[in-house]
């Protein structure tokens, strides 16, 4: 039984309504998901202004791709978070290319950014607790490797250069970390 199904049904129905052309469902989806999505995007980009632009782009992508969403293949929460993460990582890379100062963000990516320090209880509060418990249960070296790959969109080679470890060791840490997370989030 997936621990995330409770809050996922509503989101899945909204995506299906958007796919059917029910425009008001987009606003309901925004109300249900904008806080976690904006928090994620903000943590990845580290830039509030860029995050606002990315959030708009993400909902445009959700609107245009809603027809491709298959509830049998992926949970709705994971689907929207994946779209937001991919777009935010892309913007983070763009910021890095355009501003060398943004290099500093690589380490910041594994730390909490500007998000609300005390998240209010919401539709995802139980899911978040489970996800946090899972990532916190990882050995520190695996957690850092997974978080740099996820939040900074870094390759194993880039992570290896960042933390001064062999590339093969980073790949192993990511593999072991992801296997453990998959077991915990089953």
């Amino acid at each position: 039984m997936c621990p995330f199904q409770e809050s996922d049904v509503e989101l899945s129905e909204l995506i299906q309504k958007i796919a059917a052309g029910e425009a008001p469902a987009l606003l309901s989806l925004y109300d249900a998901s904008s806080r976690p999505l904006f928090g994620l995007i903000l943590r990845i980009t580290g830039d509030r202004f860029a995050s606002e632009e990315v959030l708009v782009e993400v909902y445009k992508l959700i609107e245009s791709r809603a027809g491709q969403y298959d509830a049998k293949q992926a949970l709705a929460t994971a689907w929207v978070l994946s779209i937001a993460r991919a777009r935010a990582v892309e913007r983070r890379r763009q910021i890095r290319r355009e501003s060398p100062r943004a290099e500093r963000m690589e380490t910041a990516a594994t730390e909490e950014g500007e998000g609300d320090s005390q998240s209010t209880p919401g539709p995802y509060s139980d899911d978040r607790k489970r996800a946090l418990a899972a990532i916190e249960s990882l050995p520190p070296e695996q957690r850092v490797a997974v978080e740099l790959a996820y939040y900074a969109g870094m390759s194993p080679g880039e992570i290896a250069a960042q933390i001064g470890q062999p590339r093969a060791a980073i790949k192993t840490r990511i593999r072991l970390g992801m296997i453990k997370l998959a077991e915990l989030l089953k």
């Binding site: 904008s34 903000l42 994971a78 993460r85 998000g115 899911d127 992801m178």
Partner: protein
Amino acid sequence: MKHERPTGEIQETAALYALGSLSQHDARAFENHLKEGCGVCSAELRRFEGVVGFLGLTASDAEPPAYLRELFAAHVEHCAREAMSRAEVQAEKKPPAKAAPRLRNRLSAWSRALSWAMALGCAVLAGYSYYSWKQSEQSVQERTTELVAARSDAEQLSKMLELERGRSRELEHLNAILERPGARVVLLTGPEPSSSASVAIFWDVARRRWVVTGRLPKAGPGTEYKLWYVTRTGRYAAGILQQDSEGHVFTVLEGPEAGTEISQTIITLEPVGGSAQPTWPIIASSGK
């Protein structure tokens, strides 16, 4: 080659692919392998994609600014209006009744035959006219062609001259602002790296004057670009941007009061006639 059981290497590749951390070359190779129908690799990938999907929940919530929600609300309203007008147009196009299909078919056949006959008549007439004209006017045509070419050259030169004069006037405006104490320049760019939108606001703070210049994709028929600024208290319209046929933008607007803290400026494409609030899409935007 299809795998029979998950190995460490398979898991590593699937995990890195799910995280988007594989090199392009390795990612393409893995995708090709998946296309071959390897069930073991597909299952591993699905498992890790689920993890990637939920890792995002480990970030804290953050409240997006209120203006973004209003932007979506306006977009939704706009879509609903469009859907309604589309439905009305379709309803008007519907044939009034199902009765007498044979009569309608017969009329339709007559109408088709008549239109073909008319087209044929026109073609014969046009052919005859062309032949006569060609015979009698050949020499006149050569002179006319030369005259048209000369006139076109003159018009083009005149346009270029006018364009240069316009650019020169614009530069005078910009230089005058840049020489003012406390002058500011705000840059706006398109949301995509490939966007051709690039606009600058030259801000004469003391005189409350904004000179907006740059380039935007050509606005379609019935639409125009509008500039907005966002403060803590709300979003305010700065004005409509004038665009020439080449996509160049140059407009002088009244700027906000001195001391106004602007968190963002945005340019949206709006229907001609104006919108009270920015709708969709954001063509270019900027921070402070």
